[in-house]
Symmetry: C2
Subunit: 342 residues, 2 copies
Amino acid sequence: MEEKRTEIASLGEFGLIDHLTRENETKNASTLLSIGDDAAVIDTFGKQMVISTDMLVEGVHFDLMYMPLKHLGYKAVIVNLSDIYAMNAEPTQITLSIAISNRFSVEALDEFYEGVNLACERYGVDLIGGDTTSSQKGLVISITAIGEVEENKFVTRSGAKEGDLICVTGDLGASYMGLLLLEREKKIYLENPGVQPDLENQKYVLERFMKPEAGKNMVHWMKENNLMPTSMIDISDGLSSEILHICKQSELGCVIYEDKLPIHEETKLNAQKFGIASTTAALNGGEDYELLFTISPTEFEKVKDCELLNIIGHMTNSSEGRKFLTNSNVKIDISAQGWKHI
Amino acid sequence: MEEKRTEIASLGEFGLIDHLTRENETKNASTLLSIGDDAAVIDTFGKQMVISTDMLVEGVHFDLMYMPLKHLGYKAVIVNLSDIYAMNAEPTQITLSIAISNRFSVEALDEFYEGVNLACERYGVDLIGGDTTSSQKGLVISITAIGEVEENKFVTRSGAKEGDLICVTGDLGASYMGLLLLEREKKIYLENPGVQPDLENQKYVLERFMKPEAGKNMVHWMKENNLMPTSMIDISDGLSSEILHICKQSELGCVIYEDKLPIHEETKLNAQKFGIASTTAALNGGEDYELLFTISPTEFEKVKDCELLNIIGHMTNSSEGRKFLTNSNVKIDISAQGWKHI
């Protein structure tokens, strides 16, 4: 059966917006006015608001050859919620703008919005506005996430103290292995379209790339256990890059221990197949969307049995540098450069 | 002298962000934390927040052949602030994301940010966050504007009542004439690069296109004069399109009088040269960024001497339709379609 293809032009701008947001229900009492006016209105009930924004560009941040639109929609939201959790805040609303070329049908956009709506549903977030426009080439997604936090309970990158413990949630490097696998399969497919993809024993790393989750559980746990991190950041560019942000903004050094890095078995297995060190994937892979944070050593008792996190090192005086201690007991400098797409 | 060209890659992502935001100063006490962390933090002091977002795509919304980057930066901010004023709110913060190809130098981005900063300065708005990424082709700009409004003083599109007066600020159609002129000069230049542009007596319409302003004066005047509109929208797609939004969302009809439309002399002059009716430019031109709003007829005394606005019609029962009364006393249906880029 042929799939239905509705041209976007057949709905017009306003028809398209109505169509895409037809099932949009408000989840937060703070959302006073949502999509459909010049702006949305948010009531704040005396809390502070946290705002973050991200832009995703086809061919730079994602490849539609292996990224289904529904997953892309889900991930685009998660990436932004992750920043809100990294402030120790609770995400409440997002706005979503997309530029699309006419190669996309209404059905394709519906898939994308299915993913967006699923993420909003799971994280209790309202989609309150946006802009839908055309592009000459490719898909561009821009999301702004809004969150709330109790007065002065937000956590920045700059509050770490010497001696603080460095913690990380979940495991690292899996998303990068997922990406490598998908890139390999794409190459094979392009050369031999008949070959079926070999994606056995790779479910975990693929899911980590295709459908990451944001740090909700950790932030809720910290609230329940009355734990206030001294600094926090989410891992989008890789552990190395993020710990350097904390060091720089807190004016400190650090030591991270290779043997403490949480790495999933499947990540190790796949890293081996690709002939790269799983530690490299953990340090520089990126797109983990785990939380990296520091806590006072006096909080050790609170966290020592928490299964959501691992302690991977501690903050040092700035003069000691930013160091990584390998399993063979060699201290090396941590380096990272963020993106170099351009 | 050759202009300096610094490649974006020479700064890296974080260096580029530092460079572009180096003069960023906070203007609002509500801006607790600005650029440089996972998110910004805003204190709300018991007010309500208003949020709007817009995306601008090169080749769709702007043409760099005749739009200098500084003007583009200014206009991109204004377009968003206009939405905030249209809610009867005061803009306080923006986030800015851009995707850029490597054909842009750091100096080109500096020009763009000069315009962004100038608009922020003039409107008292803080730039609190953003994302800078690469694109495969062209420039994409996404801005989210945040504003504040006293409790339940925000104005939507849906509150107009039968008999309300329809008001519009400034004049209409000038921006469209500016666009037509620039399109013509571009065509001439492409055919004959030696020919100097003929832009005499077109200063006003060009400025209206290149450097529009948002509805700050009107919103401040309304506050000072204790005037609360019943509905309000900003004119981005043209008067026709916007009044239809108010009619639809307020479930009413309207009559607008051709002889009441505020049209600048220079707009009329240029419309004549192009052989189009200036009324058409006023109704469908778009990008005026004036405010269109309705007020109770009991407020007539308050506004009758206000030089910021003109009364151009009134709201009617839904059964009377959405009508335009021409100078020759013919009633025609108002129609509009928003964009049809795709």
